[in-house]
Amino acid sequence: MDELLGEFITETNEFLETVDTQLVVFEADPTDGETLNSIFRLVHTIKGTCGFLGLPRLQFLAHAGETLLGKFRDGTLVATPDQVQLVLESIDRIKEILAGLEANGTEPQGDDRDLIGALERAAEGEDAQDSHTQNGQDAAPEPHQPAQSNAAPGQVEVAAANSTRWDADLGRELRPGEVSLADLEAAFRSATPDDENEAQAASSPNTPSDSAKDSDLPIGLGVAGVRLSEPEALIIKEDEEDIAIKGTAVASNQTIRVNVEVLETLMTMVSELVLTRNQLMQMVRNVTDSEFKGPLQRLSAVTAELQDSVMKTRMQPIGSAWKKLPRIVRDAARDLGKKIDLIMDGEATELDRQVLELIKDPLTHMIRNSCDHGLENPTARIAAGKSETGIIRLNAYHEGGHIVIEVSDDGSGLATSRIREKAIKNNIVTEEQAWTLSDAQIHRFIFAPGFSTAATVTSLSGRGVGMDVVRTNIELIGGTIDLQSTEGRGTKFFIKIPLTLAIVSALVVGSRKQRFAIPQLSIVELVGAGAASDHKVEILNSARVLRLRDRLLPLVDLSEVLGVAPNEHMESEALSSFVVVMQQSGQLFGVVVDEVFDTEEIVVKPLSKALTNVGTFSGATILGDGSVIMIIDPACVYRRVGQVEDVVEEIEADVQKSRDQRLETTSMIVFQAGGEQPKAVPLSLVTRLEELDATSFEQGDGRTLVQYRGELMPIVAADPYSTIVTSGVQPVLVFTYNGEAAGMAVDKIVDIVEEPLHVEMAADRPGLTGIAVLKGKATEILDVGHYLSLALNNWDDPTRNQPGKHIVLVERNPFFRNLLSPLLRAAGYEVEAVDTVSAALVCAEYRKPSAVLTDIDADVASARRLLHDERLSGTTIVALSGSPDADATGFASLVRKSDRESLIAAIEMASKLEIAA
């Protein structure tokens, strides 16, 4: 292709993007003269260059657009949304032609008379458009019942214009801007040489007949080309610092255009240089006294700087990927009849242009999704008590070598129950599983292939290919996507992507004496799982799991994933190995490796075709010592884990079942405070064990406080007779609830025991749940709630109560489950604490409880299943909630979780009812 033409295309494409954005700004505020001027200048430049290069189609279109814009500029016309729409349409057409031009080197064949006509018509100042817009709804073309019958005087013209829109030759309605054959012919006949106007004068002399048509046709056309739709409001809020638009002209003389390929080559060369440097460094490191050391140091520094600068040339502000979005949102808002505000923050955040190109499409898709599914229509929004205008917010920022892009809307949020139903229907999960999953886990199903919850398919989205493709595209570039959604409040997507694809940070690990690199981005933490470590790899029916804090992590051996696993090594390896905890598609899993070496910045080299079908590796790299190592593809490992995970889930369910049958054991942490007698609290309530320096304790508000992890944490003594030390080290049990931490000072931590908890003597003083025998010793079981209330002042005092009967407690939150069950047990009830409704129903099958306490905060829909299940007919169902005004219709009563008195009262009432019955 002609160099000149190539440059023109690049330049014009850039111009057009700017025009797009600016027009949307202008539409929101038609009095903004500065924006209009700059739009005008851009369109004018396009026109001028087209004429110079001999591109008639582009030239005429740009000219017609310019004429209309000129009228806006000298104030002859005030821009209406429809007119702006018209200009936007012509911009789209110009883009189409440009695309053709780019592909073939010549303007594609086509006819622009429709648009040019409409543009000129608009420029003539046809007032009809205004009335047309206002009456757009009733005047919508209805060929079989012409509008004139009931048209008001002001609408006559419109109606007449509309009646001509039915074309007998075509047998269908004319499209906006389309000209009927009859009109065309009439126009041809009436065209005389004197009929010239401005447009013709400006057109190139070698196509006189074309321009004649162009200029004449509109007169016979009426208001063709004006779209009928409600005017909508759309405001673009630009960062003041954003120079992408306003500063282009100023910045241009500071920049030069460089072919991307040159940059790519430069980058490759620098990568090579980095590798060679690493190799040299490695060699010199082994020599104690080398004359090369000094120069090498310098070479190293220069190389690092060079690498930085070259990386910078590839960096582009993310705003350039967002340029198209205002227009997309505007069009979507118009099509959907919604009001949408797009707010963009952090446009200046830079990332590699290669990555930028790759996230453009997923981002566009997500924005469309937010417009279509995320935000409600204005009426629904008002009904929900929100402002009529929905907000979509884009935010980008750097976070440790990665860039995070947030796409959020304040719409209706994800409908958890609908996604759950759909997931069950699509056989992604079984019904049993679905009810045990958390809301967040269920929300993530929208990333599953072929998943769409949209009730209807619209032109914008809803075909169920969307989020799956978005996720795949993002994972392809080593990124991750996650979401947060609150029903009724909106949805927020988090996209985390590496800044660049060329150089990534990776962890070098060893498996079976061979080294591999795992991209850092997918690694969450590293756990030592050897014999000496706290964490142990456990084998449950051939599936390996790691007990890490409060969860079971499915494990897979790296050598197994790679297919080099000789199984006889199993046991020796369990003794000394590391677990790399990785996250992929929102799932955590562990990868067992034999050795962990180092993290390195590695240059990713693509694999040859002979190796791409292996699938386990995403590339290879050369380390400092010159050896080649393979880069593990996290997605592949995850797929392997998926097979393991099923087994783990099965086992977990089995464990749960056997636990239900046996006596429930509770892990207790035993300690001493104020005397020799052991005291204990349930281990699951303790967040952390700390040894804090007593000198860091401060006094405030009559309490002892300590600055802990950036916040003030109150500390209370575990016993009235013990005191908080003032010097030395103070062992503290840290409890957290609702993000607030409280510490309990103890004298000495003794042991952790796991035994069935039988509170043998109910407590007679506050702060004590009762006394139980643990490890053969009478141990005081402390009431954590009491200490939380001392520390945080928001807990009620416990109350003693009379014995009752069998109770089932359904509570997903382990904190409350662990808090409430000892309390109820201490009050003399036999408590079966389960985390899901399904499990509760299973319990009820074996033995009908006298009352069921169920949490309704997590999932009220599933809690309601209890009300209608025949296994529980006649049983009192009490709703538990954190808030006093939760909707508990249908339940026997509603009790606040922190309100123990009412809780006990409600149960008592229930058991009395049962006795009465």
């Binding site: 790679l562 297919g563 002979a610 050896s627 190592i629």
Partner: protein, 160 residues
Amino acid sequence: MTVTANRRESDLALAKVGTKEFVTVHVADQLLGVQVTDIQDVFSLKSLTPVPGARPEIAGVLNLRGRIVTAIDARQRLGLPQRPQGYAGMMAVGVEFQNESYGILVDQVGEVLRLADQEFEPNPVNLDSIWKDVSQGVYRLDGRLLMVLDIEHLLRVAAA
């Protein structure tokens, strides 16, 4: 059959003009030839990183002056037994195929021979099918035969 035969004949017809240069390599007891124009490098194998899960004829990947080269084991490809001492001390013939670098691992690299096209013969019909696939034909040398490796075929199967 006739199609293959025809192709071989036309190859033969083309080959009849002048001479060609070959680098001879030894794989097990067999003498093979690679056309000089196909070869980018000849180097001795220093370190090799195996690629778990790859096809058996892919010996691994190696670093050749900052480029990552995929090593193809010629013995494995030809269905010959592995060397008892493994890959240590092997030589490699570096070739380029579809813009990617490959190294063909051989026991030994011999000399450069200029061979007259008259000496060229198509593959004997009773040649093993694996060999037939990677052999362009045979040169009759003094006392022994030199099989001409068809690099493209050799690598295409690996890359498929």
